[in-house]
Amino acid sequence: MSASPLTHPAVTPGGSAALRLLGPLGRLARGLAILLAVFAAWEALVVLFGIRPYYLPRPTVILAALVQTPAPYIQGFLRTLSETLIGFASGALFGIGMGLLFFRARALRELVFPLFIVSQTIPVIAFGALVVLWFGNTLFAKAAIAFYLTFFPVTVNTLLGLESVDPRQEALLRSFGASPLQLMTRLQFPTALPQIFVALRLASSLALVGAIVGEWFGDTVGLGVLLLQGMYTENVVSIWATLLVSALLGTGFYAAVAGAERVLVFWGAEQ
């Protein structure tokens, strides 16, 4: 999902309302058509080659499993979504805050940044057992792991974005008597926002990874729980059903962040 927004410039809003409406609807229709085609091809492949359901069940079987016992998948979706949201929001806020701080205090940045980098080389799953000790079996234990995975890219991109501000523009605003706060809200932060959003889109996927991995450490509800349960009971259909729900969650959350970007960055540019 990160393909198109990363490589193509964001669609510039404008034109008539009808045109603006057609864009997303058209994209949605195209996406659905592709999805249907993939499912049809998958179903045909499994039937034609007689693939054992143990390896690849037919999509209709997976969808049937989802329809027959929807409760665990819906609950899992909601639980994992909440963990992802909390981890993402806290990671984003902390990341932006640290980016601002590092931008202002160069010495602090040079002192702390290497530690941040080292922190990212640590396999967070190794902490799973410790996080449960520290936070118990709460949503926050999972959100903490999601937070750990998200804050770093946001910090880096906030810093990069702030540093990309044209010094001449800065000098100009300063010459008009702008205070440091005005400088930040009117120039630096809006300039950095596109760069921040690149990291936020990445962080949206990472937060989901954190939430799912966190759920492997003893919980009853969540997509990670369903994956683990499916693995140990060799219930391949359930694993696939959970993968589909995870894809839905990942794509939806990513799209939400990308949508927020289109609205916010556009609004930022107008200032």
């Binding site: 290497p114 080389t121 799953i125 190794a126 993968l243 990942g250």
Partner: protein, 259 residues
């Protein structure tokens, strides 16, 4: 994580003072850790002291180095497979444009599920030996490399392509002469980011089932209530990631400089 290398690359540029401060930061952190763990007499299952962890790494060095070798093998083999797949896909799409409409959505669909979520399935399919780790690492690496390479290929100036074409250059020649050199920096960034990811994915998969490796050591250590060993394995994993990252970064500087 994709943004990390840009700043890591930028850090040395800041000069010697930054380096000193960075080292100072790490030293202060380690001292604070040691002080808290010793001062509050924290039990090892809460937070062991750094000195204890280092002593344990030294005492168990043969186990840890064997495990690190195991994990690095999985990560490097999976990484090479993944990188080859990623670059190949990008080349195919560039040489045969109609395939873009199929390959890009397919890759995107596969990538819309977080990689770690595939591990239960991959472990059931490929067993708990090395093959399942190769697959997981390759899965994680290929997409990043694919996207960054494709973005690099797409970045070339339309007019340069037309110019070369007017001289009678074919798609292959344009790819080799024009697109590849232009794409190298982006490709390299993708390759560099993937190093750390490769090792983390290998360890995550090992923790769900393996015959050896750092993830397996961590798993066993948790069960044997040896938390100093857990931390030891974490330290070694972090060092291995940094080394792999540094190696690829070094290779990148050599190649791109030479180009």
């Amino acid at each position: 994580m994709s943004a990390a290398p840009e700043v890591i690359a930028a850090a040395p540029r800041a000069g010697g003072c930054a380096l000193q401060r960075g080292v100072l930061g790490i030293v202060l952190f380690v001292l604070a850790w040691e002080g808290i763990a010793r001062g509050f007499h924290l039990p090892s299952y809460t937070l062991p002291a750094v000195s204890d962890i280092l002593a344990s790494i030294y005492a168990k060095r043969s186990i840890l180095f064997t495990a690190a070798g195991f994990t690095l093998t999985e990560a490097v083999v999976g990484y090479v497979i993944g990188a080859l797949i990623g670059v190949t896909l990008a080349v195919v799409i560039t040489l045969v444009p109609p395939t873009r409409a199929v390959l890009l959505p397919a890759a995107t669909a596969i990538n819309s599920v977080p990689v770690v979520a595939y591990s239960p399935l991959i472990l059931l399919w490929f067993g708990i030996g090395m093959p399942s780790k190769f697959v997981m690492v390759a899965l994680a690496v290929s997409f990043t490399v694919f996207l960054s390479t494709l973005a690099g290929f797409d970045r070339v100036d339309r007019r340069s392509v037309d110019l070369l074409r007017s001289f009678g250059a074919g798609r292959l020649a344009i790819l080799w002469r024009l697109r590849l050199p232009t794409a190298l920096p982006l490709m390299a960034a993708g390759l560099r980011v993937s190093t750390v990811r490769a090792i983390i994915v290998a360890i995550v998969t090992e923790m769900l089932g393996a015959y050896g490796g750092l993830g397996w050591v961590i798993y066993q250590a948790v069960l044997q209530i040896d938390f100093v060993q857990v931390w030891g394995a974490i330290f070694v994993a972090s060092a291995a990631s940094l080394a792999f990252f540094g190696l690829v970064g070094f290779a990148e500087r050599r190649i791109i400089f030479w180009k």
